[in-house]
Symmetry: C2
Subunit: 184 residues, 2 copies
Protein backbone atom coordinates (compact mmCIF):
# COMPACT_ATOMS: atom_id res chain seq x y z
CA UNK A 1 0.00 0.00 0.00
CA UNK A 2 1.55 3.36 -0.98
CA UNK A 3 1.63 5.51 2.13
CA UNK A 4 3.13 8.90 1.25
CA UNK A 5 4.53 10.46 4.39
CA UNK A 6 3.20 7.93 6.90
CA UNK A 7 5.88 6.33 9.03
CA UNK A 8 6.02 2.70 10.01
CA UNK A 9 6.44 1.72 13.67
CA UNK A 10 9.09 -0.90 14.35
CA UNK A 11 7.99 -3.73 16.62
CA UNK A 12 10.18 -4.37 19.64
CA UNK A 13 9.97 -6.39 22.83
CA UNK A 14 6.67 -7.86 23.95
CA UNK A 15 5.35 -9.50 27.08
CA UNK A 16 2.25 -11.58 27.68
CA UNK A 17 -0.34 -9.99 29.97
CA UNK A 18 -2.78 -12.89 29.96
CA UNK A 19 -3.09 -16.16 28.10
CA UNK A 20 -6.31 -18.18 27.73
CA UNK A 21 -7.45 -21.09 25.57
CA UNK A 22 -8.59 -18.78 22.78
CA UNK A 23 -6.38 -15.69 22.94
CA UNK A 24 -3.30 -14.04 24.39
CA UNK A 25 -3.13 -10.36 25.33
CA UNK A 26 0.31 -8.86 24.81
CA UNK A 27 1.93 -5.54 25.64
CA UNK A 28 4.16 -4.75 22.67
CA UNK A 29 6.77 -2.03 22.32
CA UNK A 30 6.70 -0.06 19.06
CA UNK A 31 9.21 2.59 17.96
CA UNK A 32 8.12 5.26 15.49
CA UNK A 33 10.65 4.96 12.64
CA UNK A 34 10.51 8.71 11.96
CA UNK A 35 10.27 10.38 15.36
CA UNK A 36 12.03 7.65 17.33
CA UNK A 37 9.35 7.76 20.05
CA UNK A 38 8.70 4.49 21.86
CA UNK A 39 5.25 3.42 23.04
CA UNK A 40 3.60 0.32 24.43
CA UNK A 41 0.43 -0.94 22.76
CA UNK A 42 -1.99 -3.72 23.67
CA UNK A 43 -2.44 -6.45 21.10
CA UNK A 44 -4.71 -9.48 21.16
CA UNK A 45 -2.98 -12.45 19.62
CA UNK A 46 -5.51 -14.91 18.22
CA UNK A 47 -5.30 -17.83 15.78
CA UNK A 48 -6.65 -17.29 12.28
CA UNK A 49 -10.36 -18.01 11.92
CA UNK A 50 -12.38 -19.49 9.10
CA UNK A 51 -15.97 -18.80 8.05
CA UNK A 52 -17.82 -20.90 5.51
CA UNK A 53 -20.32 -19.77 2.91
CA UNK A 54 -22.05 -23.05 2.09
CA UNK A 55 -24.66 -22.81 -0.65
CA UNK A 56 -26.98 -25.73 -1.34
CA UNK A 57 -27.91 -26.87 -4.88
CA UNK A 58 -31.16 -24.87 -4.57
CA UNK A 59 -29.30 -21.66 -3.56
CA UNK A 60 -29.90 -21.77 0.17
CA UNK A 61 -27.17 -20.57 2.52
CA UNK A 62 -26.35 -22.70 5.58
CA UNK A 63 -26.34 -20.68 8.80
CA UNK A 64 -25.84 -21.54 12.46
CA UNK A 65 -27.63 -20.06 15.43
CA UNK A 66 -25.96 -20.33 18.81
CA UNK A 67 -25.57 -18.67 22.16
CA UNK A 68 -22.58 -16.34 22.23
CA UNK A 69 -20.86 -15.46 25.48
CA UNK A 70 -19.45 -12.08 24.39
CA UNK A 71 -22.85 -10.63 23.50
CA UNK A 72 -24.64 -12.76 26.15
CA UNK A 73 -27.28 -13.57 23.53
CA UNK A 74 -28.09 -15.76 20.53
CA UNK A 75 -26.44 -14.99 17.20
CA UNK A 76 -27.11 -16.06 13.60
CA UNK A 77 -23.84 -16.58 11.73
CA UNK A 78 -21.90 -18.37 9.05
CA UNK A 79 -20.48 -21.67 10.31
CA UNK A 80 -16.83 -21.38 11.28
CA UNK A 81 -14.21 -21.50 13.98
CA UNK A 82 -10.53 -21.41 14.77
CA UNK A 83 -8.02 -22.80 12.31
CA UNK A 84 -5.78 -25.32 14.04
CA UNK A 85 -2.00 -24.88 14.02
CA UNK A 86 -0.67 -25.87 10.60
CA UNK A 87 -4.15 -26.49 9.22
CA UNK A 88 -5.05 -25.25 5.73
CA UNK A 89 -7.89 -22.69 5.76
CA UNK A 90 -9.93 -24.65 3.20
CA UNK A 91 -9.52 -27.90 5.14
CA UNK A 92 -10.47 -26.06 8.33
CA UNK A 93 -13.57 -24.64 6.66
CA UNK A 94 -14.69 -28.05 5.39
CA UNK A 95 -14.07 -29.50 8.87
CA UNK A 96 -15.98 -26.76 10.71
CA UNK A 97 -18.89 -26.97 8.25
CA UNK A 98 -19.16 -30.73 8.79
CA UNK A 99 -18.76 -30.51 12.57
CA UNK A 100 -21.22 -27.67 13.10
CA UNK A 101 -23.88 -28.43 10.47
CA UNK A 102 -23.39 -31.90 8.99
CA UNK A 103 -23.19 -30.30 5.53
CA UNK A 104 -20.39 -31.12 3.09
CA UNK A 105 -19.57 -32.11 -0.45
CA UNK A 106 -19.80 -29.78 -3.40
CA UNK A 107 -17.17 -27.55 -4.96
CA UNK A 108 -14.85 -25.94 -2.43
CA UNK A 109 -12.55 -22.93 -2.79
CA UNK A 110 -10.98 -20.11 -0.80
CA UNK A 111 -12.96 -16.93 -1.37
CA UNK A 112 -10.72 -14.41 0.40
CA UNK A 113 -9.86 -13.09 3.82
CA UNK A 114 -10.29 -10.05 6.04
CA UNK A 115 -8.62 -8.67 9.14
CA UNK A 116 -11.12 -8.87 12.02
CA UNK A 117 -9.52 -5.82 13.64
CA UNK A 118 -6.04 -4.70 12.52
CA UNK A 119 -5.93 -2.06 15.27
CA UNK A 120 -5.82 -4.57 18.11
CA UNK A 121 -5.78 -8.09 16.64
CA UNK A 122 -3.07 -9.82 14.63
CA UNK A 123 -5.14 -12.45 12.83
CA UNK A 124 -7.10 -12.99 9.63
CA UNK A 125 -10.51 -14.52 9.02
CA UNK A 126 -10.55 -16.67 5.88
CA UNK A 127 -13.69 -17.35 3.89
CA UNK A 128 -14.30 -20.70 2.25
CA UNK A 129 -17.01 -21.09 -0.38
CA UNK A 130 -18.75 -24.45 -0.68
CA UNK A 131 -21.06 -24.58 -3.69
CA UNK A 132 -23.48 -27.48 -3.87
CA UNK A 133 -23.30 -28.33 -0.17
CA UNK A 134 -25.60 -31.12 0.99
CA UNK A 135 -26.28 -32.90 4.30
CA UNK A 136 -23.46 -35.44 4.27
CA UNK A 137 -22.86 -36.87 7.70
CA UNK A 138 -23.19 -36.48 11.43
CA UNK A 139 -22.47 -33.25 13.25
CA UNK A 140 -19.70 -33.29 15.82
CA UNK A 141 -20.04 -30.43 18.27
CA UNK A 142 -17.35 -29.39 20.72
CA UNK A 143 -18.36 -29.97 24.32
CA UNK A 144 -20.58 -27.03 25.35
CA UNK A 145 -21.50 -26.27 21.72
CA UNK A 146 -25.21 -26.30 20.94
CA UNK A 147 -26.12 -25.25 17.44
CA UNK A 148 -29.29 -24.79 15.45
CA UNK A 149 -28.72 -25.20 11.73
CA UNK A 150 -30.83 -23.00 9.49
CA UNK A 151 -30.92 -22.66 5.71
CA UNK A 152 -32.41 -19.65 3.96
CA UNK A 153 -32.47 -18.36 0.37
CA UNK A 154 -29.37 -16.41 -0.61
CA UNK A 155 -31.31 -13.20 -1.30
CA UNK A 156 -32.92 -13.44 2.14
CA UNK A 157 -29.57 -13.98 3.86
CA UNK A 158 -28.05 -10.97 2.08
CA UNK A 159 -31.04 -8.87 3.15
CA UNK A 160 -30.61 -10.10 6.75
CA UNK A 161 -26.96 -8.99 6.64
CA UNK A 162 -28.05 -5.50 5.69
CA UNK A 163 -30.96 -5.19 8.11
CA UNK A 164 -29.45 -6.31 11.43
CA UNK A 165 -30.98 -9.80 11.61
CA UNK A 166 -27.41 -10.92 11.04
CA UNK A 167 -25.19 -8.68 13.16
CA UNK A 168 -21.81 -10.44 13.34
CA UNK A 169 -19.39 -8.24 11.41
CA UNK A 170 -17.36 -11.20 10.12
CA UNK A 171 -20.45 -12.90 8.73
CA UNK A 172 -21.52 -9.65 7.06
CA UNK A 173 -18.07 -9.08 5.55
CA UNK A 174 -17.98 -12.64 4.22
CA UNK A 175 -21.40 -12.36 2.62
CA UNK A 176 -20.27 -9.11 0.96
CA UNK A 177 -17.19 -10.82 -0.46
CA UNK A 178 -19.40 -13.62 -1.80
CA UNK A 179 -21.96 -11.21 -3.24
CA UNK A 180 -19.10 -9.47 -5.08
CA UNK A 181 -18.28 -12.68 -6.92
CA UNK A 182 -21.91 -13.00 -8.07
CA UNK A 183 -22.01 -9.53 -9.57
CA UNK A 184 -18.94 -10.06 -11.77
CA UNK B 1 -34.61 -14.26 17.72
CA UNK B 2 -36.66 -17.50 17.81
CA UNK B 3 -34.29 -20.25 18.91
CA UNK B 4 -36.21 -23.54 19.03
CA UNK B 5 -34.46 -25.89 21.42
CA UNK B 6 -31.35 -23.80 22.06
CA UNK B 7 -30.75 -23.04 25.69
CA UNK B 8 -29.55 -19.75 27.09
CA UNK B 9 -26.53 -19.65 29.42
CA UNK B 10 -27.00 -17.57 32.55
CA UNK B 11 -24.19 -15.18 33.35
CA UNK B 12 -22.65 -15.48 36.79
CA UNK B 13 -19.61 -14.16 38.60
CA UNK B 14 -16.78 -12.58 36.66
CA UNK B 15 -13.24 -11.52 37.40
CA UNK B 16 -10.88 -9.25 35.51
CA UNK B 17 -7.81 -10.98 34.09
CA UNK B 18 -6.19 -7.85 32.65
CA UNK B 19 -7.21 -4.25 32.17
CA UNK B 20 -5.62 -1.81 29.70
CA UNK B 21 -6.50 1.62 28.31
CA UNK B 22 -8.56 0.12 25.48
CA UNK B 23 -9.94 -3.19 26.79
CA UNK B 24 -10.52 -5.47 29.74
CA UNK B 25 -10.25 -9.26 29.55
CA UNK B 26 -12.65 -11.04 31.89
CA UNK B 27 -13.19 -14.63 32.96
CA UNK B 28 -16.94 -15.02 33.24
CA UNK B 29 -18.93 -17.91 34.71
CA UNK B 30 -21.90 -19.11 32.65
CA UNK B 31 -24.43 -21.75 33.65
CA UNK B 32 -26.31 -23.67 30.96
CA UNK B 33 -29.97 -23.08 31.79
CA UNK B 34 -30.93 -26.54 30.52
CA UNK B 35 -28.15 -28.87 31.62
CA UNK B 36 -27.03 -26.85 34.64
CA UNK B 37 -23.37 -27.23 33.68
CA UNK B 38 -21.12 -24.36 34.71
CA UNK B 39 -18.21 -23.14 32.57
CA UNK B 40 -15.79 -20.23 32.54
CA UNK B 41 -15.42 -18.28 29.29
CA UNK B 42 -13.05 -15.48 28.28
CA UNK B 43 -14.66 -12.22 27.24
CA UNK B 44 -13.08 -9.03 25.99
CA UNK B 45 -14.90 -6.02 27.36
CA UNK B 46 -14.49 -3.03 25.05
CA UNK B 47 -16.31 0.28 24.68
CA UNK B 48 -18.64 0.69 21.72
CA UNK B 49 -16.94 1.90 18.56
CA UNK B 50 -18.11 4.21 15.79
CA UNK B 51 -17.23 4.18 12.08
CA UNK B 52 -18.18 7.01 9.74
CA UNK B 53 -19.22 6.78 6.12
CA UNK B 54 -18.62 10.33 4.96
CA UNK B 55 -19.63 11.00 1.36
CA UNK B 56 -18.65 14.27 -0.31
CA UNK B 57 -21.04 16.25 -2.57
CA UNK B 58 -19.33 14.63 -5.60
CA UNK B 59 -19.84 11.07 -4.23
CA UNK B 60 -16.35 10.45 -2.91
CA UNK B 61 -15.92 8.45 0.29
CA UNK B 62 -13.50 9.78 2.93
CA UNK B 63 -11.02 7.12 4.06
CA UNK B 64 -8.07 7.11 6.45
CA UNK B 65 -4.81 5.27 6.06
CA UNK B 66 -2.76 4.59 9.17
CA UNK B 67 -0.33 2.23 10.77
CA UNK B 68 -2.09 -0.43 12.83
CA UNK B 69 -0.34 -2.19 15.69
CA UNK B 70 -2.40 -5.39 15.62
CA UNK B 71 -1.59 -6.20 12.00
CA UNK B 72 1.84 -4.48 12.23
CA UNK B 73 1.08 -2.83 8.89
CA UNK B 74 -0.77 0.05 7.22
CA UNK B 75 -4.53 -0.17 6.83
CA UNK B 76 -7.12 1.71 4.76
CA UNK B 77 -10.32 2.21 6.73
CA UNK B 78 -13.38 4.27 7.46
CA UNK B 79 -12.64 7.04 9.98
CA UNK B 80 -13.73 6.10 13.49
CA UNK B 81 -12.80 5.32 17.04
CA UNK B 82 -14.01 4.61 20.53
CA UNK B 83 -17.24 6.17 21.77
CA UNK B 84 -16.60 7.96 25.04
CA UNK B 85 -18.63 7.08 28.14
CA UNK B 86 -22.09 8.61 27.82
CA UNK B 87 -21.38 9.94 24.34
CA UNK B 88 -24.02 9.62 21.62
CA UNK B 89 -22.87 7.46 18.66
CA UNK B 90 -23.74 10.16 16.12
CA UNK B 91 -21.90 12.85 18.10
CA UNK B 92 -18.94 10.50 18.45
CA UNK B 93 -18.92 9.87 14.70
CA UNK B 94 -19.02 13.57 13.88
CA UNK B 95 -16.20 14.16 16.39
CA UNK B 96 -14.00 11.35 15.08
CA UNK B 97 -14.55 12.43 11.46
CA UNK B 98 -13.49 15.97 12.31
CA UNK B 99 -10.52 14.91 14.43
CA UNK B 100 -9.15 12.36 12.00
CA UNK B 101 -9.92 13.96 8.63
CA UNK B 102 -11.01 17.59 9.06
CA UNK B 103 -14.24 16.76 7.21
CA UNK B 104 -17.63 17.74 8.58
CA UNK B 105 -20.92 19.36 7.77
CA UNK B 106 -23.61 17.76 5.65
CA UNK B 107 -26.56 15.61 6.64
CA UNK B 108 -25.82 13.23 9.51
CA UNK B 109 -27.68 10.11 10.61
CA UNK B 110 -27.15 6.75 12.32
CA UNK B 111 -27.01 4.04 9.67
CA UNK B 112 -26.95 0.95 11.89
CA UNK B 113 -24.67 -1.18 14.00
CA UNK B 114 -22.94 -4.55 14.05
CA UNK B 115 -21.34 -6.75 16.67
CA UNK B 116 -17.59 -6.87 16.00
CA UNK B 117 -17.42 -10.37 17.48
CA UNK B 118 -20.29 -11.65 19.66
CA UNK B 119 -18.34 -14.81 20.52
CA UNK B 120 -15.68 -13.00 22.54
CA UNK B 121 -16.52 -9.27 22.62
CA UNK B 122 -19.40 -7.49 24.30
CA UNK B 123 -19.54 -4.32 22.23
CA UNK B 124 -21.18 -2.85 19.14
CA UNK B 125 -19.76 -0.82 16.29
CA UNK B 126 -22.13 1.93 15.19
CA UNK B 127 -22.12 3.40 11.69
CA UNK B 128 -22.78 7.07 11.10
CA UNK B 129 -23.56 8.34 7.61
CA UNK B 130 -22.51 11.88 6.71
CA UNK B 131 -23.85 12.94 3.32
CA UNK B 132 -22.39 16.08 1.78
CA UNK B 133 -19.24 16.07 3.92
CA UNK B 134 -16.72 18.81 3.14
CA UNK B 135 -13.37 19.90 4.57
CA UNK B 136 -14.53 22.04 7.46
CA UNK B 137 -11.75 22.62 9.95
CA UNK B 138 -8.46 21.48 11.39
CA UNK B 139 -7.70 17.87 12.20
CA UNK B 140 -6.94 17.01 15.80
CA UNK B 141 -5.04 13.77 16.09
CA UNK B 142 -4.48 11.91 19.33
CA UNK B 143 -0.83 11.80 20.36
CA UNK B 144 0.82 9.01 18.33
CA UNK B 145 -1.86 9.18 15.64
CA UNK B 146 -0.61 9.84 12.12
CA UNK B 147 -3.23 9.67 9.42
CA UNK B 148 -3.34 10.05 5.67
CA UNK B 149 -6.76 11.16 4.44
CA UNK B 150 -7.83 9.76 1.10
CA UNK B 151 -11.02 10.25 -0.89
CA UNK B 152 -12.09 7.89 -3.65
CA UNK B 153 -15.26 7.42 -5.71
CA UNK B 154 -17.93 5.36 -3.99
CA UNK B 155 -17.91 2.64 -6.66
CA UNK B 156 -14.13 2.33 -6.28
CA UNK B 157 -14.34 2.07 -2.51
CA UNK B 158 -17.01 -0.64 -2.73
CA UNK B 159 -14.81 -2.54 -5.20
CA UNK B 160 -11.84 -2.17 -2.80
CA UNK B 161 -13.95 -3.66 -0.01
CA UNK B 162 -14.61 -6.71 -2.16
CA UNK B 163 -11.10 -7.18 -3.50
CA UNK B 164 -8.94 -7.00 -0.38
CA UNK B 165 -7.56 -3.45 -0.84
CA UNK B 166 -9.75 -2.69 2.16
CA UNK B 167 -9.38 -5.60 4.58
CA UNK B 168 -10.76 -4.32 7.92
CA UNK B 169 -13.91 -6.34 8.56
CA UNK B 170 -15.69 -3.45 10.28
CA UNK B 171 -15.07 -1.11 7.36
CA UNK B 172 -16.32 -3.79 4.94
CA UNK B 173 -19.45 -4.44 7.01
CA UNK B 174 -20.18 -0.70 7.21
CA UNK B 175 -19.82 -0.21 3.48
CA UNK B 176 -22.20 -3.14 2.93
CA UNK B 177 -24.80 -1.56 5.20
CA UNK B 178 -24.44 1.70 3.29
CA UNK B 179 -24.63 0.00 -0.08
CA UNK B 180 -27.86 -1.65 1.06
CA UNK B 181 -29.48 1.75 1.56
CA UNK B 182 -28.54 2.75 -2.01
CA UNK B 183 -30.15 -0.29 -3.57
CA UNK B 184 -33.52 0.29 -1.91
Amino acid sequence: MPTGKLSRWDKGAERTLVSTKILEVRAVQFRHAGRGTQREFTIIHVPDWVNVIAVTPDQQVVLVKQFRFGSDDFSLELPGGMIEAGEDPVAAGVRELQEETGFGGGKVRLLGQVQPNPAIMDNHCHYVLVEGAVPSGPMDWDSDEEIEVETAPLATVLAWARSGVISHSLTIAGLMLYEGTLAR
